[in-house]
Amino acid sequence: MFRDKDRFLNILLISPSILAILIFVYAFIGWSVRVSLSKWKGLTADYTWNGIKNYLDLFADPRFHVDIRNTLIFTGVFVFGSILLGFTLAVMLDQGLKGEGFFRSLFLFPMAISYIVTGVVWRWLMNPAAGSRTSGLNLLFTNMGLDSLVNKWHTTPTWGIAAIALAAIWQMSGYTMALYLAGLRAIPEDLKEAARIDGASEVQIYRHIMLPLLSPVTLSALIILGHMSLKVFDLIVAVAGKQLPLDVPAIYMWQITFDGLFYGRGAAVGILLLISIAVLIIPYIRYTLKTEAEQ
């Protein structure tokens, strides 16, 4: 009797947010799907049925191919770089060095900055100008005699997007470090001691004990960084504006919809983005819910 009342109250309390999510998330997803299957082009809504033509057009669109290539390169460099750097920083901080708190905040700070600010700063740092106008990192490299490191950054053909990923790594590796640090701290000291008594070297301890125990952290990091990189938009716009060599689906969606008024095609890009992120997120959520239920 009491439990039923409790339950009723619980549902009552969360119903406003459930309602809001139903309307503002799921209803709008449904509406976007409908728009993506329409011929809507121009300011006035046009829901004429168009089947999956918008999607087929996208897959045949050379610009969308550039987008997919850029997204893959960006995701690869960004996720791998952030995890590698984050893990290294976490291991170093975990050695119990002096001033750990200071370094921890130092590495976490970039995360407090918005992507727009990061983008503007890195736009200066990665200035590709040559000759007397050389500036930013290129100037630093030249002055240090490291001429081989001077490069065209984000204006490099094909791989330019990887330079943007560098800025994103700078921003997010501190966060990845925090994830790993929490994971490292959660590993009981006895396990390491037992391994040491058995004669394992430090490298072996990390390889065979720490890393396997950290795999849930790695998975979380992969998911969080992965879905961020699929949605990346503001960082690229801040560094390079709307330019095709650095195009990604989110920028394409924005430009084709609001500059070009191709609402149908824009909605199709949005739905494809949603699907690609869902493919990444949903198994993770199921896994988390399952492990929580088991606990």
């Binding site: 309390l13 969360i14 406003p16 947010s17 082009k41 121009g42 300011l43 006035t44 809504a45 050379p62 610009r63 550039v66 736009r123 990665m126 200035n127 590709p128 100008a129 040559a130 007397s132 106008r133 065209k152 950054w153 984000h154 204006t155 053909p157 390079a240 504006g241 709307k242 330019q243 095709l244 060599p245 195009d247 430009q255 084709i256 609001f258 500059d259 070009g260 008024l261 191709f262």
Partner: protein, 441 residues
Amino acid sequence: MKKNLLALLSILMIASFAIVACGGAATEAPAMTEAPAATEAPAATEAPAAADKVEVFSWWTGGGEAAGLAAMQTVFSAAYPNIEFINAAVAGGAGTNARAVLATRLQAGDPPDSWQGHAGQELIGTYVAGGQIEPLNDLYAAEGWLDVMPKTLIPLISNDGNIYSVPVNIHRANVLWYNPSVLSANGVEVPTTMDEWFAAMDTLKAAGVQPLALGEQWTKMHLMETVLLGTLGADAYNGLWDGTTDWASPEVKAALDNYAKVLTYANSDSSSLSWQDAAQLVINGDAAFNVMGDWAEGYFRELGKTPKTDYGWAPTPGSSGVFQFLSDSFVLAVGAPHPDGAMAWLKIAGSKEGQEAFNPVKGSICARTDCDKSLFGEYLQSAMDDWSSNVVVGSLTHGVVANDSWKTEIDTALGLFIADGNVDGFQAALVAACASSGPCK
């Protein structure tokens, strides 16, 4: 422990809803108190006062544009003291934000009386297609504007014989800016044809001077439209946009080849430069030429530079006698809430007084050809001479000749071309773009 956490969370949530609710109440409260006052006040003074308003929507919120609008508003208030001028300007993103707000208001059936838009197909393709703006032929006839605006301008801002907007200012797109001392130091004359331009840039390149300064992608489209104009000539260039010039023709191929060649003279870091950065290279003597609209002149003046000594100008090669224009203009909304106020505003926007108030401040020239030249600087005076005597054609990048969808498709094709350098593929993509969003069938 877990229960406590849940309780805490629910309290937080309730608190946040309460805050949201309070926020709503807080914004409503003043409206509640103000509303009766607002409706009472005009009713008390004069009965038909509800019509004596005009809401003008623009993205002129800063710099010379906002100052120009304020100057024009002063002229308006002097001429129509009984009409309240409501400045509904929306800031941000060179109009991107404003256009999004406008689209929302139009879809909700709540249009402003008059709004700003680039004259030509950007307006026509969007708002005429949507049945949202009224033709203004009667106004043009009544005010005699057809006699004071260039004959070749009118077809570019019309659709099926109807004129849809009142141009307030004129900018020129086909301007070649150069550094006079860099040219004279290398014995180079100002080029008037494409071939002369290539020869000049070869000389400069051989002397170790950066021949051409170029910026990010939209400035490349701007350069492309001037090369198309310079190679094809005014008639064939106009034909590209009304379907009479075939995009697949060898002439267009030649123009695109020229464009590809021009790009080889540009700085390698172009995609990281804004238009200001690129223009500044010319001023600083780091590059010889730059193609940019004449708002660059306003920038040069801001930098404290002197015309003719620090910078020179000429029509882009191959386009002398042709004025490639772009313009900010105002429209009349279908179902405008205050049609009388809107007509009064449009009359001022097209009047000599209104344009003479706006343009010297904004750094552009009048759409009318009868403005007082003494109000303008040296460059603008020369532009006014050309405006009244030249053949007028429209700009692609700035919304005159192609609707937004077409322009976006051309922009995509251009971006792919810059990446792969394949002229034939570029031309094929342009042909396809004209068929899908332009007049080509």
